[in-house]
Point group: C2
Chain length 328, copies 2
DNA sequence: AGTATCTTGGCAAACGTTTGCCAAAGCTGT
DNA sequence: ACAGCTTTGGCAAACGTTTGCCAAGATACT
């Protein structure tokens, strides 16, 4: 079914139907408009987005490239972005790059040939394709992780501040020499959180030991980092985990070794996922408002499309207090 | 950049370039082909999928409608479907219906106007739009939850059998009168698991008490169902939770009341998400191979497109034994 | 030499839209 | 009666593809 079908049913030309579909009411008589609207209604016509996109040069499709959908943080951001895009009349293509540069480049090319109108990037993996992409000035918003090639549209939190808050928390709980667990594969987010944490601790007069580990997922990272920590030194009073997932991994090792959190060792992390309040009551988290990210991402995309200079959106973080507000 | 650009660069006609792009090597001389390939290479040309889709009538885009991306089960299925689609040269549009009928209908219409080539549906919410959709015979594969209007392509597990396995497990642990926790909002999956569980228990000579609760998410369901259970009767030896999320919710209530799992009460569930092995070592699960779903979904879609009668794929489930195989 | 076949490649229509332009008709005012 | 304006609506080109058809040249066969 196409404009032609409707036009035939209403006995007008295709152009007339097209104009009415697009709300140009001053180009046809009231009577014609009603006839056409009736035909559209009875046929259940909806304009073909392919034809429209081809002609108009805007597809109303946005691509989201995410590092790993199985990470609940990414899933939450994807979900909130999807909802915000839908509300704005867009549709989301989801691409899971698994943080692999070749796959990322492949996706960037594929999305270009899909003529997508904008990009949401949750990645900081460098790749030749991404470098060109940024250089071409494609309309993109980075979320969680900063653009590794340039500054620009970004939605995230003040990771330095969040790290500092975690340090304050541990300090207030009496930890003077906490450990910090972090992944070998770094990123702007990780670095900032780490920097904020250790700087604040230094300011306060404390010091921290660091345990780093490689790993496919932050779960593994946490587990391995905790292992190397415990194998190397005695149990610290407190442990700072740079993400919830790292905390989960670390907790697993603690559990296996019969250590109890927070009785034997306080644990703090950054992310504050909803699941933690159910499954990890032992964990204290700096809560990041991932549910809000989508709205701001779409705002920024809008600014870019309108040609406005678009900056960063740094959203507020806080210690987890009221869980209920987590649900919309 | 379009075929026209390449044609100009290679000094041939648009048709010739198009044929070469599509692998018709017998319609041009070796020399011409090389010249065209060179031009494509240097320009970095990729065919515009919009034009192609419009002409060919197949968009190589598949829509996935999922009930709630924040549910890790859905996220896993989405992730595996995305990977399988990508490998087959397709692209995935993700739609989060939040199990709301109007939103589902809105998405179905929107996807139709996007000319998507196939659908992956993780829903059993009835809606007028879905009824028409099924009646039209659109190419769709249902995953996890069965088509509420007809039989047909489906990927899932034997939920009756999984329920029975859970009953066997609790029986083997000495539970003679376990409780079962389930959501008020039912579905084929829930019903089957419940039926399999209680039938097997009856066969074995046991009986079960049931606790049902409404809730936005299964986390709430588990919490509330556990509350109503404990308020009503004494603590059973074992609790069967119809999903991992229900188990998490129930555990939270148990934790608040100072009850320990599995010391005070054995808990079993169906899903076996990766996260459980990290965060919920107290939980025993029937493991569902959600990571494999994507592959089978795409297989079935292929069968449908080729016009083959496509049936159901019932994948094997098992008790969680080796966690490591969970990762690809 | 004449005919048949193969190779090479271009023309043009079509997919469903949008929109600038033109034309016919209906009006007003002189 | 005629110029000028508004209303109404159609024609046709364009977006980037694909593909049936035709044509010119080359080669092979009788």
């Amino acid at each position: 079914m196409s404009l032609a079908t409707v036009a035939a049913a209403a006995e007008v030309s295709i152009s007339t139907v097209s104009r009415i579909v697009n709300g140009q009411t001053h180009r046809a008589s009231r009577e014609t408009i009603e006839r056409v609207r009736g035909a559209i209604e009875t046929l259940g016509y909806r304009p073909n987005q392919l034809g429209r996109a081809l002609k108009r040069g805007e597809s109303r499709v946005v691509a989201m490239l995410t590092a790993n959908l199985n990470n609940p943080v990414m899933a939450t951001v994807a979900s909130s972005a999807e909802a915000a895009l839908r509300a704005a009349g867009y549709v989301m293509i989801l691409c899971d790059t698994h943080d692999r540069p070749e796959l990322q480049d492949e996706y960037l090319k594929a999305m270009r040939s899909q003529a997508v109108q904008g990009y949401i990037l949750v990645t900081n993996v460098k790749s030749p394709g991404l470098a060109e992409f940024v250089a071409r000035g494609e309309p993109a918003v980075f979320a969680c992780r900063r653009n590794p090639y340039a500054s620009g549209a970004f939605v995230g939190i003040d990771n330095v501040g969040a790290g500092a808050d975690a340090a304050d928390y541990l300090w207030s709980r009496g930890c003077r020499e906490p450990a910090v667990l972090f992944p070998a594969q770094s990123s702007s987010t990780i670095e900032d959180r780490l920097a904020g944490f250790s700087m604040r601790l230094l300011e306060l007069g404390g010091r921290c030991s660091k345990a780093e580990a490689p790993g496919l997922s932050h779960l593994d990272v946490g587990y391995e980092a905790a292992r190397s920590l415990l194998d190397r030194a005695s149990l610290p009073q407190g442990v700072m985990c740079l993400s919830d997932q790292i905390a989960y991994g670390a907790h697993r090792l603690f559990f296996e070794r019969g250590l109890r959190v927070p009785d034997d060792c306080v644990m703090v992390s950054i992310d504050g996922s909803t699941l933690s309040s159910w499954l990890a009551p032992w964990l204290t988290s700096v809560r990041v408002p991932y549910h809000e990210f989508g709205r701001h991402i779409v705002d920024l995309l809008g600014e870019i499309w309108r040609g406005e200079a678009s900056g960063e959106r740094i959203l507020p973080h806080a210690f987890q207090s009221d869980v209920s507000s987590d649900f919309e």
